[in-house]
Symmetry: C2
Subunit: 473 residues, 2 copies
């Protein structure tokens, strides 16, 4: 072993020690006596197998603790398997004398209680990717009892923290609340959003997302003529929520990986390359206590691997040098007419991307804005070339900071006067893990060349992004 | 003891046993080895003293476990006192080789990383009421290291979960991140909202809320000419966030209870009535490990008691019977002209209210919509009378379900044909406790008389609310 290698090893060991405490977030530990060790032990090798299958070096710094992190996040995201409705609702039923004074449900006052806009996250049982939920829960009190409002949210969250299909989620929340509160009826409505395949992410608005609406109802909410159901829908409309739930009572396959999947039989042809990864995902399901042979989970490991493989290491390098300059880009003009002082600054804005966070194996997605100086010929680089560049640096295991810099450096290599890149992204790992900051959004900047030394050039580019921000993410 | 009393006692004991598990929410237990018992023991008697001071019967069903619940929620809401920045950040610093290739901060790429729209809740150190925060955190990496994105959110949350002043919160987040990440600089910007005094809650839009903006910056973000600070503000503008932070560097007293407070010297006159409550709140501060003599906390117990006393039991009963009918209410007309089929249905919409949740001693606030049938005289009841009714039933320790029914019954007592009430409210207890569902909003309905039997009358009233919903909460 050479001196250089020894030094590298020593540094790695030191880093490993420094990282010992990593991710021991108080918020994530949960209150349970975690029987984690054994189960996580089964999950970590599975994640390592996935990394290897992606062509990654599992020992490189950014990935070294990814198996531990993924195992922990996955266990946290499926904690609903280890919770019970009884523990949540029991004791949170309050006698509400007034409700009892008259006969009939809700004390004869035709009343109902609705908690609207409960934001949840769940995991799609078809592909193991997270999906987001806007959940609305109502019930009609009976027997002179009301339930603590937060319990409607907690019970919904409990079922969301399992591998789910949106309609089953609605049904499970409805029947669990009905059984535990024993009201005159329960109404559940939810809108769900599933990330599309990376290639279907649309520019600017992320409109490629798959959206469905689902409902489930019991007791007095049932039946075509239930006026309580009409009232429930009216209360949702007050918040701008228009439920189109007529045709979604069945278990519709909504997962985009189901409609684009490789037929199961074809997987045998790919056996050598992907079989290890599929087995690894199957063992992850087993360690959650799930049955991989359950009808809805058949093919799930294959679909998750199919998704991951979209982000596998690509050893081809992409350079802009070879690209021809097209005419398809116009110089930035200040709003209200008048060319900018920096007439030679060009920009390509709102280029969509979807990457996979190398720390958590979860997607982050958003838009890239690129600014550069043209070469004096007055011609810019065609947008499609930038989109290819973004795809190359985005569609892999990444971190946003590195991706931003890499794109900036690639652009700088052909636009020698200067390059500037802004990336705006939502991180599923910020949402579906313990932090659960649903609306938080991360922006990164990299600035090179003249943009670094000329603040007005930088400001000019940022203004061009701002002018189009209304139509953005 | 009579047979009736014995039966009552037996029922109470049974209820107590059934409630034994109450609020043992897994989500709330936290991962810490809680040294809770002794401290909560000090807090629960304090809460009981507050209930007695409010003229309440602390043994009535809705309040029986309120001391336990408040103690737990208060401890959870101030868990930041028992967390350390080191534990959160340590080990989440990732070497990012590319950032190191060039000299200067962010590897010479003029870059920064900004997490925008982190939603937080904190407690105002001036009055102990929760306030909400939209937090934005940026930093410029240095030394070839980036920090896990979620840590920016977690560190911010840690300081928010203490008794705070908005500007100090911004400063503490900034300096803690600077010390722990050792970047080239940290930028923190936040917008904060504080609930106003109940009497200042405005109709429809809740515009009475006190809003302030605060910023704190270190390193390369400092100075008037910092272009990195300009970039940071530009990235916020992309999300529609316009920071007006020029004049908020000082610790401005923003708490509405500070500007309307009873001078401290006057409290001696009230000694007999409120002194016990003030002592109780002081003991709550002590049990958090806070120093009640810290400058910023002087007067806090008095202010919190002053707030609570706005919701004290009022033994006067309010009836609409005595009110004269005015001309100030017009019959509901369908949008697009044309009177409704139910010409005699009248409505008073968006009556603001602020109540105090009897389960958590935290405010819930929103609007009340009232529908009723006029008496045939063609004259309605003046809006001010309804507002007085809402104030009477709202401004006390309440639960939303009961308040809805009580208002409906009061209206029904004068409008014998029918009465219908919808209450829409945000509950601080749904937000600042463990659930943290910031956008969730609860709607309750009570329906009496002809509204119960005539679905079209009910639909007509709900439509009138919907038609004005755009301008509502």
């Amino acid at each position: 072993m050479g001196a250089l290698e020894e030094a590298h090893l020593a540094a790695a060991v030191a880093a490993a020690c420094a990282c010992e405490e990593e991710e021991d977030d108080l918020e994530l530990l949960g209150g349970e006596a975690e029987p984690a060790a054994a189960e996580d032990d089964a999950m970590e090798p599975a994640v390592r197998a996935l990394l290897v299958g992606l062509g990654e070096d599992e020992r490189r710094e950014g990935l070294r603790r990814t198996p531990k992190r993924v195992a922990k996040a996955f266990r946290d995201g499926t904690r609903g398997y280890r919770q019970k409705v009884k523990d949540i609702v029991q004791g949170a039923l309050f006698p509400e004398v007034g409700v009892d004074k008259r006969t009939g449900s809700a004390g004869g006052t035709g009343g109902q209680v609705v908690v609207r806009d409960i934001e949840l996250f769940s995991y799609c049982e078809s592909c193991l990717l997270p999906f987001s939920i806007q959940c609305h829960v109502g019930y009609v009190p009976s027997g002179g009892r009301v339930v603590g409002l937060s319990k409607l949210s907690r019970v919904s969250d409990m079922f969301a923290k399992r591998l789910q299909n949106p309609q089953r989620l609605a049904n499970e929340v409805c029947s669990a609340l009905h059984a535990s509160i024993q009201p005159a009826g329960v109404a559940v409505a939810m809108q769900c959003w599933h990330i599309p395949l990376p290639e279907n992410l649309e520019c600017k608005t992320l409109q490629g997302w798959i959206k469905t609406s689902h409902a489930s109802r019991s007791g007095v909410f049932e039946g075509e003529s239930s006026t309580l159901w009409s009232d429930f829908l009216a209360l949702l409309k007050f918040r701008g929520i228009d439920m189109d739930v007529g045709n979604h009572s069945a278990y519709i396959p909504w997962c985009p990986l189901r409609s684009h999947e490789v037929p199961l039989s074809n997987w045998h042809c790919k056996k050598n390359s992907n079989n290890g990864m599929v087995s690894a995902v199957t063992s992850m399901l087993l360690s959650l206590g799930e049955d991989p042979l359950r009808k809805e989970l058949l093919g799930t490991p294959q679909r998750y691997v199919q998704w991951l493989m979209k982000f596998r290491v690509c050893n081809v390098d992409v350079k802009l040098n070879g690209f021809t300059l097209g005419n398809n880009v116009s110089a930035y003009e200040r709003p209200g007419g008048g060319t900018a002082d920096h007439g030679s600054i060009r920009s390509e804005l709102h280029l969509p991307f979807c990457a996979q966070c190398e720390h958590h194996l979860l997607p982050f997605y958003g838009v890239v804005h690129i600014g550069y100086f043209d070469d004096g010929s007055g011609e810019g680089i065609d947008r499609s070339h930038f989109q290819a560049l973004v795809h190359f640096y985005g569609c892999k295991l990444q971190v946003q900071e590195r991706m931003t810099r890499q794109i900036a450096e690639a652009v700088y290599s052909v636009s020698h006067n200067g390059a500037m890149v802004v990336v705006e992204a939502y991180h599923s790992c910020m949402i579906s893990r313990g932090v659960e900051k649903i609306r938080s959004n991360t922006a990164t900047i990299a600035v090179l060349g003249q943009f670094l030394t000329d603040p007005s050039a930088k400001a000019c580019f940022l203004q061009s992004v701002l002018d189009t921000a209304g139509s953005a993410v």
